[in-house]
Amino acid sequence: MNKSDLLLEIGLEEVPARFLTHAMNQLAEKVKQLLTEKNIEFGAVQSYSSPRRLAVLIEDVSEKQLDLHEEVKGPSKKVALDAEGNWSKAAIGFTRGQGKSVEDIYFKEINGVEYVHVEKFTKGQDTIAILSSLGELITSLTFPKNMRWANLDIRYIRPIRWIVALFGNEIINLEVATVKSGRASYGHRFLGERVEIPTAKEYKQLLLSQYVMADYKDRKAVILSQIHQLEKEQNWLIPIDEDLLEEVTNLVEYPTVLFGSFDEDYLQLPKEVLITTMKEHQRYFPVTDSNGNLLAYFVTVRNGDQNHLETVRKGNEKVLRARLQDAVFFYEEDKKLSIEKALNKLEHVVYHEEIGTYQDKLTRIQELSQYIVQKVGINGEEEKQTLRAAEICKFDLVTQMVDEFTELQGIMGEKYAKIAGEADLVALAINEHYMPRFSDGQLPESNAGAIVSIADKLDTLASFFALNLIPTGSQDPYSLRRQATGIVQILLQKGWNLDFTSLLKKGIAKTSGFSKRGEEEVLNDLLEFFKLRFKHLLNERQVRYDIIEAVLEAPITNVKSLITKADILQAKKEESGFKEDMEALSRVVNIASKAEKIVEINADLFENESERVLYNEFVKIENAASQSLNDEQYYAQLVALNKPITNYFDQTMIMVDDENIRNNRLSFMRKLADLILYFAHFQNIIVK
């Protein structure tokens, strides 16, 4: 069968760099999907993108759809034939619907019933006719942010300016948002021109002749090789931040790497300030010497060729100079601001309209930190410094530097706190309390940082839940999920024996001034929210799903214990006797659900030895449990009940007629079950 190459290019006004790669892949996927669905064979697929275009080239696309032979099932024989053996209306209707006649019918048995069938043959259409639906495909692409333009109704990532749609050397006629397809593409905005593409295969080469590298991998490789070249020539290190490289690659169509310099005096600024200014604000790569010390140079990528690089360098140097001048000004001004004055200003900074100011938040963070300090047993100087950190941890929010560079919150706090004469630990904790700053980011190392971090995050979660601002689906504007995960990770890393539910309650209690909901309701929602984080964590540890369910159903006492319990069950499940242990414990739990009236257990009502033995074991565990058994010991005690429980059920009839005895036994079962369920809901565990 004849084959041709297919090219589809959507010309756009500059697409945001962060959406480009995803959009490019989406286009290729959709075209592949269309061809597959339509039974059109195709070969290699190449996707292209640049700020002004999304494109896909598919080689060796069949010029005709595959012919389709199919067997279509109709009504049952019973329905298809009337009493006289004539074809019924149903049968005639079916064949007509398939473009067939009753002569074509044959029967085939399915599950003992005979059905009408016909053989259907659909001749493949010309591919080019089918490709006219590419217009709808273009509009079906989805983007995280859409816009309208002119007086059109279409919502798209950016205005569509041209469309190239070629099959072989033929134009596929499309019209999207008043733009008609053709073979004319456009090169680089300034270096290139309009260019006619005769056939799909020539696309990449012709665009390159117009100063567009359409393959982002090519652009990335060019940028990297030019950077490495520069490293060699200048004896520099230019650390590659992958996200920045990706962004820069998607901001240019024809990259040329160049460097500029700034006054060495600016190197006295904290290096985080220099890096943020260069990376975040200007998309520059910072430069270091072989020891990783920042040098007074930067590297940038121009969207253009080698000509007039001196002008571009001078311009960029001027911009950076102005920004660094600002930074020096902020730094000097901020150093003059006392921490107490900064804290006073926080009374005027709203954290959230309904939750109140940062000063209010700080008060709650202090109280929660106090609580955690006591619970984990921190004292002396460390206690004092932790509480000081809690008291001032947000002060840098009113500094000019953080106002300008939000991402430096905490980092500047640490520096300014030291300058203001705060203890090193206090300063460190201010920085660390924002950790982890991104998912799986670094965790606080100091206890002080960990405590203030938990207090801050807990307060944030409790506050938003108290207002019923709970994340749904992909909507999590206050990144509450990350904060919850952060708490869990810190608790785990520190291994503190901190009662989790009590901790949450404490956080919730602090929100009473503005809460719109009952404490109990908020607690349940928060617990559910955290359970999803735990589930995720246990999943990552490869704990089996039924074991995860079993431990999450039990009261969440502390995070470390939760993990330990899951690990124990995960390890024991392969051991012999596990099944029997689980079954014994589950029997108690199952029968306990029948208990209606709970009474004080009266040992005098016991009638056999097995009752007394099991009861004694129960009392032993209950006493031991109150003296804080560790999880391994607790588990060992529970499974040791296997024999006594089995004996008990062998010798004891629980649902007897005598109401007193029955209630006594059921109440015992209830209490024993509670002891069991405190560890895990064993009845959820699947045993083979």
Binding site: M147, G315, L320
Partner: protein
């Protein structure tokens, strides 16, 4: 090129594109967007093309004329075209060429920047335009104005005059920029910068300003009830400026602040709606084929 010639060049360029050349609107405002030539005209189906210089007052940015980059009042050159033309980016780049900026000698980029002004109920998508790493223009397709969906969509181009001039004239300090031969920005604006900064931060009468806010607000509502959008909108602008003065002075506490912003937003939304209704009553007189459809 001095600032005066830059302005003349931009005016000529956009005038040739069919824009109505307007003078700055004579009520204090924080940005060119707030001029009725933008805020009101972006509403509804009627086409519109305009270009004007807008002195923009931001009391909190005042630095007594001492900071090389910050001003109490700077200048924006504002262009609105409604509906947005298909070749708008080219028209814009031509304006840079007219200013003597040859794109082949520079690095010009359109970097994503979405614009939002919740207190005016406005939102738009677009870019900031970078010239060798410096932001020189905001380029925005309006999606919503005064809480109303824009149909057709206007394109707004806002040049930061001083920013662009500091590049063109290669000056480090905004006050050293030449306005026209023999006059620098310092000569013209040095003393006002100092005095306005001192006024905004030190000597303004807070009590009077609070009173003015309420008075202006009341009058804005009263005029809207009469269907007199433009007088009403003047008072909305005055409210906004008075609020900015109070804010610069640190006179507005947290709780009040949210309240004041909400009051400004209510006014802006109400004005937008009233303007639409009044134009509708007039039968959208500027509506020609190719304008747009009516708003629901």
């Amino acid at each position: 090129m001095n600032i005066q010639n830059m302005i003349l060049t931009l005016q000529k360029h956009w005038s040739e594109q069919g824009c109505v050349l307007m003078q700055a609107y004579d009520v204090e405002k924080g940005a060119g967007t707030m001029s009725p030539y933008t805020f009101l005209r972006a509403i509804g189906p009627e086409p519109w093309k305009v270009a004007y210089v807008e002195p923009s007052r931001r009391p909190a940015d005042g630095r007594y004329g001492e900071n090389p980059n910050r001003l109490y009042q700077h200048h924006q050159f504002q262009v609105i075209m409604k509906p947005s033309p298909d070749n708008i980016q080219e028209l814009y780049l031509d304006s840079l060429r007219a200013l003597g900026i040859n794109p082949l000698e520079h690095d010009i980029r359109f970097v994503e920047d979405n614009w939002e002004n919740p207190s005016l109920g406005c939102a738009g998508l677009g870019w900031e335009v970078w010239l060798d790493g410096m932001e020189i223009t905001q380029f925005t397709y309006f999606q919503q104005v005064g809480g109303l969906e824009c149909k057709p969509v206007s394109i707004e181009i806002t040049y930061g005059i001083e920013r662009l001039a500091s590049y063109i004239q290669d000056k480090e300090n905004v006050f050293d920029l030449e306005w026209t031969e023999g006059f620098t920005v310092r000569d013209i604006f040095g003393q006002p910068e100092y005095e306005h900064s001192k006024y905004a931060f030190e000597t303004s009468d807070e009590e009077m300003l609070f009173q003015l806010f309420s008075t202006y607000e009341k009058e804005a509502h009263r005029q809207m009830e009469e269907g007199l959008v433009h007088p009403a909108y003047d008072y909305v602008l005055k409210c906004s400026h008075v609020f900015n003065l109070l804010d610069a002075k640190g006179a507005i506490s947290v709780t009040e602040r949210t309240g004041y912003i909400a009051r400004c937003r209510n006014l802006a939304r109400k004005v937008a709606k009233t303007f639409y209704e009044e134009r509708e009553k007039l039968g959208f007189p500027m509506l020609t084929n190719g304008g747009g459809n009516t708003n629901e």
